[in-house]
């Protein structure tokens, strides 16, 4: 499997995540878009890690990074969902463009 194919998949995934973040109004959907973009980045990390750098064989630094990112993503999702939940309780909605109280 060539690195190019893997990177293409990652790019597509990132674009979809970005599209999701930009277009969706539901905060939970936006969070899901963010997760997609994070995982696209993870695929890139693994892919570059797997590339043979100067014929020295595969390394595991990328894989380690990915594990940390997944971990942080889980924590981030927990915090974000908690915030969204509390917003919902307070304002009765999770629509991102309705949350304008800082603007006023």
């Amino acid at each position: 499997m060539s690195a190019q194919a893997v990177l293409t998949v990652a790019a597509v995934l990132f674009s979809l995540g970005l599209y999701c973040v930009i277009t969706r109004r539901n905060a939970v959907s936006i969070l899901m878009g963010v997760e997609l973009m994070l995982n696209a980045a993870n695929i890139n990390l693994v892919a570059f890690s797997n590339l043979s750098l100067g014929g020295q064989g595969p390394k595991v630094e990328g894989h380690m990074f990915v594990v940390f990112v997944v971990l942080l993503a889980a924590a981030e999702a927990a915090v974000a969902l908690a915030i969204i939940l509390s917003i919902f309780r307070r304002m009765g909605t999770v629509e991102a463009d309705r949350m304008t109280s800082l603007k006023e």
């Binding site: 973040v21 930009i22 277009t23 936006i30 991102a96 304008t100 603007k103």
Partner: protein, 707 residues
């Protein structure tokens, strides 16, 4: 020439009255409110009597010196050092100024004492004493001054105080106007004085060559009297406009003296000056200030002696004034007016004296006149005080019994002024008349006869009108109404004591200078010899001899007695009736004389009214033309300002507003970019990132070929 001795406390003499004036002038009103009128009078008296004691001390010091060294100088500091000119603030005590300071502080002190009683009912005594002390200060500066300019300072100072005191009761418009009249008439003379001083300085500072160009000579210049005396040689022979410079300067100085000493034609202010309190009339308008002109001529004796023409003018004006004022005295009813014209007349005598080069005689008469005329005025004040302010002699009469002190002192002084032998006025007046007769006049040969004749006639008139006054005031029945009559009383001791002192002096002071034929030591002449000795060399006697002197003396005594007898014949019984009868018989002459020959009216027509007309014209010019120009400028400015304001409002502000408006409009448009929605920002960010990728790819493709 001897260098004069230095004495460093002469300045105290004028300084003490200045302190008195300062204290009364600043806290006097408070003292009067808090402690009554006593402290004001006490302070003023202490100041003057202190100055008197120092004067006596200096007089004794002077007497202890050999005659040719009798001059004490107190140089305080260099007042106006400018270029070659150096005017010092310094005081001199020489025999002449010693006489003057003794008269000013002595007679002045007695009048200060008298004022305590006289002003006892006035509501602003503090102001009165402050002015009186200030006057004493100025007068002492005048007589002690070492130079002409400092003398001029005192000269102006006494003029100011005279104005302030004539108008002391300024609520009365007539009195305030009398003060202004005195001030303005004096100003005419002061101008001439200043001009004379400048002329002398100009003449002494340089010379004219044949082409008429003026060149300054080097060396220091001064206006002090010793320097001027030594500069006369340099002044002699110089001419201005065809007249000898010395003569012109002397005549200018003399015009100054006619203003201050009330001589023709500037005497008009003195009778009006009687509006002031009577002690003021005694001090300023009889004893001291009005004699300043005589003092000034005597002080400048070294100049006047060199100009026979100027001396002729001086003696002529003096004689004319003596006679003229004496005739006005015949018809006056106001007791103070009679004394005022008498003062003018006596000042004329003094000018006859100095005008014939008999400076000693002039100063002698100045001194004796200070005694008897101050006494007469103070007696008049005492009478007016007793008569509750009445000044019309026709409404008096019979006061001799009720006011013995006043009557006897008045009588002694009247006899003195009339020229009865043994009393002071006889000696001084006779000395003047004798010198007027005996001194040769190189300009007009018959001048001595004319001057003597006018003087003798004036002396006759003096005896007549003075005794007319005595009879009207003190003899016969009292013509006052019952109310006034009830209040008549002798004055308190503060008022009678000065009367007695002055009358005693008026009686005996004459023996200081007895006539030459008496073969007695002439103390006064010896005393003034160091001052006038130099000038005396230029005066020539006609050597009329002792017989003539005895004869003239007898004649003047006879005239005096004749005047007294005539007055007695007319006024002794029922004086007021006689006065009315006389004026009824010669109504035209009486009206003419009573109205003082209409001189005031002539001056009003010739000088005052044209001047007022001129001021009105100038006022109109000022109000319409000058103000018109000013208003026009104002209006033009206002129009400019309006245009400027319009430009400011619409163009400048418009530009500012436009800028602001543009910023607001742009801001309003730009505001919409900031939606506050994160997704929009992210969208733009992503678009930007894509754009950058595309651009970098394109750049790689186009320019990357080189790699």
């Amino acid at each position: 020439m001897n260098e004069p001795l230095t004495v460093n406390y002469v300045w105290l003499i004028p300084f003490l009255p200045l302190c008195g004036a300062f204290v009364n002038g600043t806290v006097g009103w408070w003292l009067q409110k808090r402690f009554g009128r006593r402290p004001n009078g006490a302070i003023a008296n202490a100041a003057v009597w202190g100055a008197f004691l120092i004067s006596v001390q200096l007089f004794l010091t002077l007497r202890g010196l050999p005659p040719e060294q009798r001059a004490l100088v107190n140089h305080l500091y260099s007042w106006i050092p400018v270029g070659q000119l150096d005017v010092a603030l310094s005081f001199t005590v020489d025999p002449l100024s010693a006489v003057m300071i003794l008269v000013v502080t002595g007679v002045g002190g007695l009048i200060h004492l008298y004022s305590i009683g006289y002003m006892a009912h006035d509501k602003s005594v503090w102001r009165y004493f402050a002015y009186l002390n200030l006057f004493t200060f100025a007068m002492l500066v005048l007589v002690l001054a070492d130079n002409l300019l400092l003398m001029f300072v005192g000269w102006e100072g006494v003029g100011l105080c005279s104005y302030l005191l004539i108008g002391f009761w300024y609520q009365d418009v007539e009195k305030a106007k009398a003060g202004m009249k005195a001030f303005i008439v004096n100003r005419v003379g002061d101008f001439a004085f200043l001009a004379g001083m400048l002329l002398i300085l100009w003449g002494a500072a340089g010379y004219w060559d044949d082409a008429g160009r003026y060149t300054m000579t080097g060396g220091t210049l001064s206006v002090d009297f010793r320097w001027l005396a030594s500069a006369t040689t340099y002044l002699q022979g110089k001419e201005v406009l065809g007249v000898s410079l010395i003569t012109l300067a002397c005549i200018l100085f003399f015009i100054g003296a006619t203003g201050k000493s009330a001589q023709l034609p500037l005497y008009v202010w003195l009778p009006d000056a009687m509006a002031g309190p009577t002690p003021v009339s005694a001090l300023i308008h009889a004893a001291t200030m009005v004699t300043a002109g005589v003092y000034m001529v005597a002080r400048l004796n070294f100049l006047f002696a060199l100009s026979p023409a100027a001396l002729t003018v001086v003696s002529g004006v003096g004689a004319a004034t003596a006679l003229f004022a004496a005739t006005i005295g015949f018809a006056q009813r106001d007791i103070k007016k009679v004394l005022a014209y008498s003062t003018v007349s006596q000042l004329g005598f003094m000018f006859i004296g100095v005008g014939v080069g008999a400076f000693t005689a002039g100063i002698f008469h100045l001194m004796t006149h200070a005694f008897f005329k101050a006494c007469l005025f103070l007696c008049a004040g005492s009478v007016i005080h007793a008569m509750s302010g009445e000044q019309d002699a026709l409404k008096m009469g019979g006061l001799a019994k009720k006011m013995p002190f006043t009557f006897w002192t008045f009588l002694v002084s009247t006899l003195a002024i009339a020229g009865i032998p043994g009393l002071a006025g006889f000696f001084s007046k006779d000395e003047i008349l004798w010198k007027a007769f005996d001194t040769a006049n190189p300009v007009v040969a018959w001048w001595p006869y004319l001057v003597w004749g006018m003087g003798a006639t004036a002396a006759l008139g003096t005896a007549f009108y003075m005794f007319r006054l005595v009879y009207l005031t003190f003899a016969g029945e009292c013509r006052a109404d019952e109310e006034t009559k009830h209040h008549i009383h002798e004055s308190p001791w503060t008022m009678t004591l000065p009367l007695v002192a002055l009358a005693s002096l008026a009686a005996v002071a004459g023996w200081l200078g007895p006539p030459g034929v008496f073969n007695l030591p002439n103390t006064f002449e010896h005393w003034l010899e160091p001052v006038f000795g130099g000038a005396a060399r230029h005066i020539t006697s006609r050597e009329s001899g002792h017989g003539a002197e005895w004869g003239l003396m007898g004649l003047s005594v006879a005239l005096a007695v004749a005047g007294i007898l005539a007055a007695r014949a007319v006024y002794a019984k029922n004086g007021a009736e006689a006065a009315r009868r006389l004026s009824g018989r010669f109504p035209l002459i009486h009206q003419f004389v009573f109205n003082k020959y209409y001189v005031d009216e002539i001056y009003a027509a010739l000088v005052v009214r044209p001047f007022m007309g001129l001021t009105r014209v100038l006022g109109w010019i000022d109000a319409h033309i000058v103000d018109g120009i000013v208003n026009l400028v104002g209006k033009v400015t206002a129009v400019f300002a309006m245009i400027d304001g319009w430009i400011d409002l619409y163009i400048v502000d418009g530009m500012v507003n436009l800028t602001a408006w543009i910023v607001i409009a742009v801001g309003r448009k730009a505001k919409t970019v900031q939606t506050g929605r994160l997704q929009d920002y992210l969208y733009v960010m992503a678009g930007g990132a894509v754009l950058m990728l595309v651009v970098s790819y394109m750049v790689e493709r186009v320019f990357g070929g080189g790699r």
